[in-house]
Amino acid sequence: MKFLVFIEQRDGKIRKASLEALSLAARLAGGPVSAVIAGKAIGEAAKELGKFGAAKVYVADRDDLALYSNRGYGGALQAAREKESPDAVLIAATSMGKDLAPRFAAKNDAGVLADVMDLRVEGDRLVGVRPVYSGKARATVEAASGLRVATTRPNVFPAEKNDGAAEPAIEALDLGALEIRARVTGITASGGKELDVTEADVVVSGGRGIKGPEGWPIIRDLVDAMGSGAALGASRAVVDAGWIDHQYQVGQTGKVVSPTLYVACGISGAIQHLAGMGTSKVIVAINKDADAPIFKVATYGVVADLFPFVPELAKAVRAIKSE
């Protein structure tokens, strides 16, 4: 099966989730694949893609692609698809990928295996496994003919780097005049430089047990102790109470996360929350109530008041990491 992978960048920085998708495509193809990237001044970034399995990279590099637009970035993807004629297109299921994939699929009369956490090739079928009902069940879905499109869930597939790989062949895409209709006029960072909860290796979340917005510093301190790959999360109860912005919410009406480590602090574990983090590799639950449902999904549990315990845990994590 011949693969083309869309590579997302913002400000010239390639998103890790795209490298995960590229590595996955190379594994499924059993050899090098093609990639496409759009943006402004991205030539150097494009060359790096060889290390993750790209033998060829289509590049749309121009001023009016400095910011994302569906017309511009989707136009680059479409142009690469027409040159490459792939059987399958992979796109990371980020907010950009989720914006691109459905229009691209509709334009090409294709379906989308959306947000897959497992993907394989069986004969001429592309078969994916995806969580449904926010992880309460999982569905096996397949695309058997025509163009097959899949979006891959961030943080699930490994990005495998081969520093010895050859530089990829670069082919510039000529997109002609672009009539951008939905135009990005600016970007405001909503949470400072914090890592988004969907992309973090470690998520530390706070729930009602933190008692009020003044409880966040001890939770944030544990995030900090976990290192640069860690992010802050929250339960729906504390978002609805106005203790923190919605972007931090993990759960069925928030974000669905699959980190390596999920630490639930003072979260009882409503079914909607469990749905949003149940696919985490290791789950730690800290709760005063030994009967809280969160302990049913937890790998490790501590029945404790989080106010004395979480600072001790941050101290212990820092100590063990500095050994």
Binding site: G278, A304, F309
Partner: protein
């Protein structure tokens, strides 16, 4: 401003999911159905926009079995003007099949904005809205948390990872609503009574050969029992061990490093 709000009628988020005998769908007995929560934000914004402009209509559209009409009535009770029910006739349409039917139904209607929730709770694909935009040949803005309808255009903020993108798009367009956009209203008794008299137009879905097929639905494997670390609570602790939060924290950190190998 004329708005069309496309809604999905889905299992309540509290629903315990069971797999039906066919191994491909959910057991629908005991399922309570609700308007998908993100669609409520879309509906609220469409009604608010109509109220602030003092002109235009809000049409609610849903594709599904007979029960979808109940969902449409709920939206009419909150202030939408009329409804369109596309009878799915029990066909399992994939996202593109749903999008084609919706695009066909709204193509010739007066419309400035076609609204969707950013995803339908349940299948969580986030596909249909932008697909409809592509089929209609209009721009879209997805994941919108702030919306303003101006002269011939919309000004929005959409949520991306760790930031908001400010986006302007000309009308007509498709918008998908994200949580944070507004606080949806409840239906008033007067609204519920009025909804009974509002018209719902019925159409039959057209069948399209699916591009993607669901071949299996299963529950995730049950989690292993939790490994409780004693001594965490200074007042009382599990297994009656002496309280030692610092010791419990060190033991947990050790397990995370040596056993789970995650820190």
């Amino acid at each position: 401003m004329n708005s069309i709000v496309c809604i999905a009628y889905v299992p309540d988020t509290e629903t315990k999911i069971r797999v039906a005998a066919d191994g491909k769908s959910i057991d629908e007995s005991d399922v309570k159905w609700i308007v998908s929560p993100y669609d409520e934000y879309a509906l609220e914004e469409a009604i608010k926009t109509k109220e602030s402009k003092g002109a235009g209509a809000v049409t609610v559209l849903s594709l599904g079995p007979e029960r979808a009409k109940t969902g449409i009535r709920e939206c009419l009770a909150r202030g939408a003007d009329d409804g369109i029910w596309i009878d799915s006739k029990g066909d399992a349409l994939d996202a593109l099949g749903v999008a084609r039917n919706i695009a066909a139904a709204v193509k010739d209607l007066p419309r400035d904005v076609v609204w969707f929730g950013q995803k339908g709770v349940g299948f969580d694909e986030s596909l249909v809205g932008p697909m409809v935009a592509e089929l209609l040949g209009v721009p879209h803005v997805a994941n919108v948390v702030k919306f303003e309808a101006g002269d011939g255009k919309v000004v929005c903020e959409r949520e991306i990872e760790g930031a908001h993108e400010h986006v302007e798009a000309p009308l007509p367009c498709v918008i998908t609503a994200q949580k944070g956009l507004n606080e949806p209203r409840y239906a008033s008794l007067k609204g519920i009574m009025a909804a009974k008299k509002k018209p719902i137009q019925e159409r039959a879905a057209e069948t399209f050969a699916p591009k993607t097929t669901l071949t299996r639905l299963e529950l995730p494997p049950p989690p292993k029992p939790c490994h409780f670390i004693p001594g965490g609570d200074p007042k009382s602790s599990a297994e009656g061990a002496a309280a030692d939060p610092a010791g419990a924290a060190r033991e947990l950190a050790r397990l995370l490093r040596e056993e789970a190998k995650v820190i």
